[in-house]
């Protein structure tokens, strides 16, 4: 017997509460996902747009502080040109409207400008990182547990099915928030640091809450859907394929049906595309002035999507125990 082998001994240590067991799964999931070099690369690229937008905030604040009217107009035009604006909202947030509003209501432009930047971040850049990122992280998360019959190891311990699902969801939500909530909050903080004084908080104080709400409304349905797909198969590549297919084919179908067939971009058929659903929700929350439709429709779609995904997920993880 090896010298360090003490044989069996009773374990007298204090045990932690049952309620925090899901955190163990989350921590383990985050660590395992972090091992992927692809994920680390994607996270790096996910933060680049916010760096660019930080530069735009710098330009904006420079234009606010300069007294020379020519320099001011030049920086304002440059800022407005860099600011891409939301699709279909150029009249509201575009260069002319922006400059006009700036001259008429100098105090209100900061909120409009910051929220436009955040909206661009949520609508135009982060979805292109979110989709491949979840395509890398989530497909093996449950499918591999089904294949390796790990449920018997998990559920023979003091861990409920709800805690298991919450633990897995929290892992995915953590990474989604890392590319939505965190860059957006950093952008907000950058704006605060570059602004002349803290009085800007009075005009922009609602933005952190809006950022949090928009991030959660993207993270929870996306995490639920991706985990549901993972639970439907024992082969993670099929789950990954289904995840990408939903986004790509949804966007194509919605584009064809809502524009070509009916020629109406406000048709509800555009919600066949998850891009549109998430985009509308983010737009409505971050700046209601820029929203092109009511928020109830896309939020309802996300609520139904989440509920169905979670129902299927619970059913799938309960199934191996019933035989």
């Amino acid at each position: 017997m090896a010298i360090h082998n003490l044989g069996y001994r009773h374990c007298e240590g204090r045990r932690q509460s049952h309620r925090t067991r899901w955190l163990v799964l989350t921590e383990n999931g985050i660590r395992r996902a972090w091992a992927s070099a692809w994920l680390r690369r994607m996270l790096f690229f996910a933060w680049l747009p916010s760096v660019l937008m930080g530069f735009m905030i710098f330009l904006y604040e420079q234009s606010e502080s300069t007294d020379d009217p020519f320099t001011r107009a030049f920086i304002q035009m440059g800022t407005a040109l860099l600011e891409p604006g939301g699709q279909g909202n150029m009249q509201a947030s575009g260069m002319l409207g922006y400059l006009q509003q700036k001259n008429e209501h100098p105090g209100e432009t900061r909120h409009l400008f910051w929220s436009s930047l955040l909206l661009t971040l949520f609508r135009r850049s982060q979805p292109f990182i979110l989709i491949p990122m979840l395509g890398v992280i989530t497909p093996p998360m449950i499918s591999q547990d089904i294949r390796s019959r790990a449920f018997l190891l998990y559920f023979s311990r003091p861990l409920s099915r709800t805690q298991y699902v919450v633990g897995k969801l929290a892992t995915v939500i953590f990474y989604v928030l890392l590319i939505t909530l965190m860059p957006a909050l950093m952008l907000f903080c950058t704006g605060l640091l570059l602004s002349p004084d803290l009085s800007v908080l009075s005009s922009t104080g609602d933005l952190p809450l809006r950022i949090l709400l928009a991030s959660l409304l993207i993270a929870i349905p996306a995490a639920s859907l991706s985990l549901m797909l993972s639970s439907l198969t024992t082969e993670s590549r099929f789950a990954g394929f289904a995840w990408f297919a939903i986004w790509i084919f949804g966007a194509f179908t919605a584009g064809i049906l809502s524009n070509s067939t009916w020629g109406d971009s406000t048709s509800p058929l555009k919600y066949l595309s998850l891009f549109e659903v998430f985009s509308e929700v983010a737009g409505s929350i971050l700046d209601p002035q820029l929203a092109s439709s009511r928020v109830e429709e896309p939020v309802s779609i996300l609520a139904v999507l989440t509920a169905v995904s979670l129902a299927v997920l619970f059913r799938r993880i309960s199934a191996p125990m019933q035989v």
Binding site: A2, H4, N5, L6, G7, Y8, R9, H10, C11, G13, R15, Q16, S17, H18, R21, V24, L25, N28, R32, P140, Q144, D145, R147, S148, R149, A150, F151, L152, L153, Y154, F155, S156, R157, P158, L159, S160, M321, Q322
Partner: protein, 310 residues
């Protein structure tokens, strides 16, 4: 002594199929062998005990806790080693141990320490640092045993623990079960098809058939024969020895080339046996009281089940 497991009229149905049919049983602390042919309801019984499936009707207690109510508390006191080849993909052996211990409430450092301690006890060496999906069958079997033990359970449910082990490892595994039961008062429910394993370590036996309890009791009682008899092995011609015993009023049941089966207890006839051996100049090689074999009990239970079905 309070019962470890007490079940009353427990029934479990899957749609129209009855997996457990009004089971009444009481299992005492110690090592209990759970036997039965395929489809007898062993796996369902284990899942019911772990709270993995709900019962259709009936009640019971395990370790004094009511069945189906304090599931989390119950699972923290039960260690389960599944028969299936299950593991957490992507983790090394020691990481699996740490995760399992943390899921039972240990903090990170304590979980790691405990994981190493139990892997040492189970004879797992440097392979603990390798991913589990690269393990051989025997290594995985030992890891599953270690995972069941990591949180210091009061009841250990082992489903086919020696399957896939070489003879040396099998002996080591049975020895570990003996140590846990004898020295640490951990009760064990051993579910297996390998009857010699049950005979080697179990104090009690429970045989299921078609969802009902066919045989239940202590190993000693079950293996005791109804009519006492003993087997006598001698060095010379057994037939001559047998005739001499019969002439002295002993009832000989069967005689082979070198052994004689005699009715009664050996102590009652020891004087005549030694005297006959001295007279014939033969050596008595062994005197063994006859016992029922577990295999015979098992086969009787299975046949009873089959007749019940037909």
């Amino acid at each position: 002594m309070p019962s470890l497991i007490e079940l009353q009229n427990l029934t479990k149905k899957y749609a129209s199929f009855t997996a457990l049919d009004s089971i009444n049983l009481s299992i005492a602390p110690g090592v209990t062998g759970l036997l039965g042919p395929n489809g007898a309801g062993k796996s369902t019984l284990i899942k019911v005990l772990l709270g993995l499936v709900s019962t259709t009707s009936g009640s019971g207690t395990i370790l004094g806790l009511p069945l189906g109510e304090s599931t989390q508390e119950l699972r923290s006191q039960i260690g389960y080693m599944p028969e299936d080849d299950c593991y957490i993909n992507g983790l090394t052996g020691i990481e699996s141990m740490q995760l399992a211990a943390r899921l039972c409430g240990m903090d990170r450092t304590e979980a790691l320490r405990r994981g190493h301690e139990i892997l040492d006890f189970c004879g797992t060496r440097q392979e603990r640092y390798r991913p589990v999906d690269t393990y051989s069958t025997g290594m995985r079997q030992k890891l599953r045993f270690a995972l069941a033990l990591v949180h210091d359970p009061k009841l250990l449910i082992l489903d086919e623990p020696t399957t896939g082990l070489d003879p040396e490892e099998r002996d080591a595994m049975l020895n570990r079960i003996r140590i846990l039961s004898r020295d640490f008062s951990i009760s064990v429910l051993l579910c297996t098809h390998i009857l010699p394993d049950v005979q080697a370590v179990c104090e009690h036996v429970l045989i299921l058939g078609a969802g009902t309890v066919r045989v239940s009791g202590s190993m000693q009682d079950l293996c005791r024969v109804q009519t006492p008899r003993f087997h006598l092995r001698v060095s010379g011609a057994a037939s001559e020895f047998s005739e001499r015993l019969q002439s002295r009023g002993m009832v000989v049941l069967e005689t082979t080339a070198d052994s004689i089966s005699v009715l009664g207890q050996p102590e009652e006839h020891s004087t005549w046996i030694w005297q006959t051996a001295a007279e014939l100049g033969q050596i008595v090689r062994s005197v063994t009281p006859a016992a029922n074999s577990l295999e015979k009990l098992f086969l009787e239970a299975v046949q009873e089940t089959e007749h019940g079905h037909s």
